[in-house]
């Protein structure tokens, strides 16, 4: 990179300009990655943290709990399978009013007493007692305390807060656990007839239930089993949000690749005679390509690292606010690496041009 590094210093204004554009794209890509992760969290973190591997649901419900209604008849074949833990779960959305008259939205998860879904002893104990709610930690920040009574809108059932469990949400609403019977009372009133939304599944070892078992029992139980990840799609707005974010990030990456490619192509055209001269004084094509690629890599790495670092700092500042934002190293590294790779791919046109420069062009003037 003998010439490349010196070119970077000599033409720092031009490189700073393209670096700024790349840094802005990296900034926005990182920010969007954090927002996408935050939105996903907001949409499915409550479900993700449940210790289940699959969900048996009503066929064609597509992971949407409100479209899935199962009964004991669907549950029994699953419970009969050796080595498989099966627990009914009811999921619905509700509004509840706290003692101060403030209304909060909750994703109400009805769980059977003694279910493997209640992993923490305090949650198990709470759910084994009289009807009540175990709320996501997030609701603590709304000023709700243990012992407060929440009135569930519609059913007017009063449920005391029994405790708090891990922070989690579903469909952008904080989760609240309750006993399955209480959930049925809230959702169906007196006509529940043992109905619930899905059967939570896992092998006794905590692994996924094998596909062959799933297929066999699905037929007998009249259910359709989805993996936990497949069930995310049922969260309200989940698919639309993730697809929108992916589309915006995709556009940003393509724009970045085009900008980088265009800049280095123009830069190469301007340097054609210099490259010819280098070839004329003995530089092999691989030497000039290495030199140019090294220069492109330096610009890309410096700009993407700067943009991503600034977005990370901004992310740290806003992650404590109501903006759904979650920073994770791997997705950010993935996005930045993709930006770098696509940027280099955009430079291929410039590299192709470099390989074709005729050393005889050195006979013309370069300075």
């Amino acid at each position: 990179m003998y010439v490349a590094l010196r070119d970077l210093r000599a033409a720092r204004g031009r490189f700073a300009l393209v670096g700024l554009v790349i840094a802005l794209v990296a900034f926005m890509t990182t920010l969007l990655t954090g927002l996408a992760a935050g939105l996903v969290d907001d949409g499915i973190s409550g479900l993700r943290q449940l210790p289940l591997t699959q969900l048996a649901m009503e066929p064609s419900s597509g992971g949407t709990f409100s479209r899935s209604v199962l009964t004991e008849e669907n549950l029994a074949p699953w419970r009969a399978v050796d080595g498989v833990e099966a627990s009914p779960i009811g999921v619905s959305f509700a509004n509840a009013k706290d003692p101060r008259g403030k209304t909060v939205s909750i994703a109400l998860l009805g769980v059977d007493e003694g279910s493997f879904l209640a992993t923490r002893p305090e949650a198990r104990d709470a759910l084994a007692g009289p009807p009540g709610l175990v709320l996501s930690h997030e609701l603590k920040e709304e000023g709700i305390e243990v012992g407060d009574e929440l009135v569930v809108a519609g059913s007017d059932i009063r449920l005391p807060v029994l405790g708090f469990t891990y922070a989690g949400s579903y469909g952008h609403v904080d989760i609240a656990f309750t006993q399955l019977t209480t959930w049925q009372q809230v959702f169906y009133g007196d006509s529940a007839r043992g109905r619930f939304s899905a059967v939570a599944l896992r092998n006794e070892g905590g692994e996924e239930v094998p596909a062959a078992t799933v297929a066999r029992v699905d037929r007998a139980a009249g259910t359709e089993t989805l993996t936990k990840t497949e069930a995310y799609a049922g969260s309200p707005g989940y698919s639309g949000e993730t697809q929108t974010m992916s589309l915006i990030r995709g556009f940003l990456l393509v724009i970045s690749a085009l900008v980088v490619g265009a800049f280095f192509t123009v830069w190469t055209v301007q340097r054609t005679r210099q490259i010819a001269l280098l070839k004329a004084i003995g530089a092999s094509t691989s030497y000039v390509v290495r030199d140019a690629l090294g220069q492109m890599a330096v610009v890309l790495v410096a700009a993407t690292a700067t943009g991503a670092a600034l977005a990370w700092l901004l992310g740290l500042a806003i992650s404590g606010t109501d903006v759904p934002f979650r920073l994770e190293l791997m997705p950010v590294l993935g996005a930045v690496s993709l930006l770098f790779t696509l940027g280099l791919a955009g430079c291929l046109a410039a590299v192709r041009r470099i390989t074709r420069v005729d050393p005889a062009g050195a006979l013309r003037q370069v300075d």
């Binding site: 000599a10 004084i281 003995g282 094509t285 003037q365």
Partner: protein, 223 residues
């Protein structure tokens, strides 16, 4: 002979016709000898220089450098030879805008994988020889035309070439500077024992050479 061209013909395609630029030229330059190549515009002087500098393959004829026939060498070997055996001084200095005078010469050693302490010492020695010891860190924009050509001469001599080719190196300079640079070129070529082929329009430049070869015949068209 350090450089030998036998029956060199260069033809280029121009639409439906073939244009003969150089037609069967024979030429030889011995070590330490300077040959001036003169002739009117369009007589093929620069084209012949490109062939000798391995920048252009002749349509017919053989090129021998330091006793080795290099006509049919592959591109990679020709590139290597250009770096190590042939030095060229162009009509315009052709310096790289981002490099200082010192780096303009160093880069030749770098591209040929030979930039070490000895090479760095030689760079300073060469630039001192051409009178630029105080301008080592000046960029092309800070150098006069004559100084740029001196840098170009030092660059051409960096790898101790067997053959030095100069394509009207003083054409862009005023007469005083031109004479100065030309004298320096001949002196340095003689000092290093290089076979020098000097393309020139200038009778004074040609007079300083050991021999003069004149190309009279302009490009001709073959239908």
């Amino acid at each position: 002979m350090s450089l030998q061209l036998n029956g060199i013909t260069v033809t280029v395609r121009d639409g439906r016709t073939d244009l003969i630029i150089v037609d069967g030229v024979d030429l030889a330059v011995a070590a330490g000898e300077t040959v001036a190549l003169t002739g009117p515009s369009g007589s093929g002087k620069s084209t012949l220089l490109s062939v000798a500098g391995l920048l252009l393959r002749p349509t017919a004829g053989r090129v021998t450098v330091a006793g080795v026939d290099v006509t049919d060498l592959k591109d990679r070997a020709r590139t290597r030879l250009r770096g190590t055996t042939i030095g060229v001084v162009y009509q315009a200095a052709n310096l790289l805008p981002s490099l200082t005078a010192r780096q303009q010469v160093e880069v030749v050693a770098h591209v040929n994988g030979r930039l070490d302490r000895t090479a760095r010492g030689r760079v300073v020695e060469l630039l001192t020889r051409v009178g630029l010891e105080d301008r080592l860190d000046a960029r092309p924009g800070e150098l006069s035309g004559g100084e740029r050509q001196r840098v170009a001469l030092a660059r051409a001599l960096m790898m101790e070439p067997t053959v030095l080719l100069a394509d009207e190196p003083t054409a862009a300079l005023d007469p005083a500077r031109a004479a100065e640079v030309n004298a320096l070129l001949l002196e340095e070529a003689g000092r290093w024992g290089t076979a020098t082929l000097l393309v020139t329009h200038d009778g004074a430049d040609a007079a300083g050479a050991d021999r003069e070869i004149r190309l009279e015949r302009p490009a001709s068209i073959v239908v």
